[in-house]
Amino acid sequence: MARIQLQDVRKSYAGQQVIHGITTDIADGEFVVIVGPSGCGKSTLLRMVAGLEDITSGTISIGDRVVNGLEPRARDIAMVFQNYALYPHMTVRENMAYGLKIARMSKADIDAAVAKAAAMLELEPYLDRKPRALSGGQRQRVAMGRALVREPAAFLLDEPLSNLDAKLRVQMRLQIRDLHQRTGQTTLYVTHDQVEAMTLADRLIVMEKGVAQQIATPHEVYTTPATEFVAGFIGSPAMNIFDARCEDGAVLLPGGHRVTVADQAVSGDVRLGLRPEDIEIQPEAGNTFPIVLRSVEWLGADAFGYGVIENSDTQVTLRLAGNTHAARGDRLHVALPGDRLHFFSPQDGRRI
């Protein structure tokens, strides 16, 4: 077990910078999730920690050692790959024992370590099968097992659940969380799935285009997103973000609507962020603005309405109660929740 420190880590391919200086300190036993859209550099960052990509500048240390120049095998880490990368010609047992054999562990110790990991992951019945004869979920568990048996200082996972179907993904997510609580291993986990990110992480690194947009707890990322990108990326359905203008304690919305907001400190042109569930529907007009519904998606427990602010093209998503009678064409009066408004700078997208 160890802490992982990244100090201004950068990576360029042929002069093109893909990771723009990431600095963070991952505590011993912490579960950190790197999340972002595809192509944001999250896997590259993980592979740099693993030693599969070299580091253009900056330092990475695991435990007390700077590992920049070390081969993957000298870094005391284990990794789970998106495609699992199981050795197809070896049985599950041999797959898990491979690293231990190289470490010249005794036969008895290897058997014990494999048995322990297999028990933890409920893999005992499959130990003598080849990966080909396993289902996707079982293969995923073998990949986890292969990483676990080595008891590494840090555990790296690169989109480990993205090849599984939705139901299995939920099961495995819980299992990964459970495993982490039992082993207390420092874990770095890459995903593009915000649900995985939010549910697993002690702390999130939200990345876009090689830049860490925000490094914070899931709660903090959700309630106070640092940039417009983070605000739009985390949360489902996505936060409504549109141009607005603040003046004299009021917000001017698209379509010329004006709503007064108490304790309004921001002024000037802004990008206004509003989560679908924070929108308050009022029975009648009065310090509200009108939204015309274009469609309603009923999901059971709740429903989502999609509409536009009246007299504008600005689309707004809002959460409705599960027993709603709202329908296409309805005109809703909506109030702004003063304490849950997010303001971002129209210039650089940063939170104001």
Partner: protein, 293 residues
């Protein structure tokens, strides 16, 4: 698998006809002729022949020259198949590491395959001719008594080298394809598991290449047994003495040079049996250890 059902019976046969015709005319008919010839004895002028049963086979199998050819063939084939596979695999692995000019390098590697066997043979003959060979001279300078025209082992080394050189390209091509089919993440996983490059090669890459290697083993064995005729003919003509006379070369020698048709046919029947047995053996015993991904 999808089954295609043809509406009537003639069309499928018509579609198969060209392939069947070629197989029948160029493979089965000559093979049948060989069988027929092997039990006949022909008079010197080729005007009449008499049925002699298995006499030709008895004669061939008790001929010390024939047993010599068997031995030569075994040594020659093993050396050619093994060296051609080993060198090609080594080169393919090295080619994987190239970053710039990979395609160019591969193209160059494939060229020797396009050289006709006789030309390849002449090339090696000229390079290693004891009196004017470009490369024979440095060998002599190194204190090696090099003379493939007199020394049987030198001659064997020369034909093995020429035959191997020609086959490397073919093997190289398949190994390159085989290596590309191995997911990179497996090697990354092995690197993280602590394997050195060498260890990862022998425990991951080599086992996963087994289907390719096995296929090439079969192809190379057949190549060494049959397709090397041109090289031997051009380089040594089976000599000096009979030290590079392989089974195929002896079939040719006895049949077309010495015109002993019955002997020659009996030999080719035996050769046919050997190859069928060998291939069956390879499939039966070696293939079981091959893991198909």
């Amino acid at each position: 698998m999808r089954r295609t059902v043809f509406p009537h019976k003639v069309l499928p046969w018509l579609l198969l006809a060209p392939q069947l015709a070629i197989t029948l005319i160029f493979f089965y008919w000559p093979a049948a002729q060989a069988f027929r010839q092997s039990v006949l004895k022909e008079d010197p002028f080729g005007l009449s022949s008499t049925f002699v049963g298995l006499a030709n086979f008895r004669k061939v199998l008790s001929d010390p020259n024939y047993l010599n050819a068997v031995q030569v063939t075994v040594v020659f084939s093993l050396l050619v198949a093994f060296s051609a596979l080993a060198i090609a695999l080594f080169l393919a692995v090295q080619a994987e590491k190239i970053i710039r000019g990979k395609g160019f390098y591969r193209t160059l590697m494939i060229w020797p395959y396009a050289v006709a066997p006789a030309i390849a043979g002449m090339l090696w003959l000229f390079m290693f001719n004891p009196s004017f060979g470009t490369l024979a001279w440095p060998l002599r300078q190194l204190g090696i008594d090099w003379n493939p025209l007199l020394d049987g082992d030198d001659a064997m080394a020369l034909v093995v080298a020429a035959a191997t050189w020609k086959q490397i390209s073919y093997n190289f091509l398949f190994f390159v394809a085989g290596l590309q089919a191995i997911p990179k993440s497996l090697l990354e996983a092995a690197a993280i598991d602590g394997a050195s490059r060498r260890h990862a090669f022998w425990t991951i890459v080599f086992p996963l290449l087994a289907p390719t290697t096995f296929f090439l083993l079969v192809v190379n064995t057949v190549y060494a047994l049959f397709d090397t005729f041109g090289i031997i003919h051009a380089v040594t003509g089976g000599g000096p003495g009979k030290s590079t006379e392989t089974l195929v070369y002896k079939v040719y020698n006895d049949g077309f040079v010495n015109l002993i048709m019955g002997d020659s046919a009996a030999q080719s029947v035996i050769l046919m049996v050997i190859v069928i047995t060998l291939t069956a053996f390879q499939f039966r015993f070696i293939e079981r250890r091959v893991h198909y991904g």
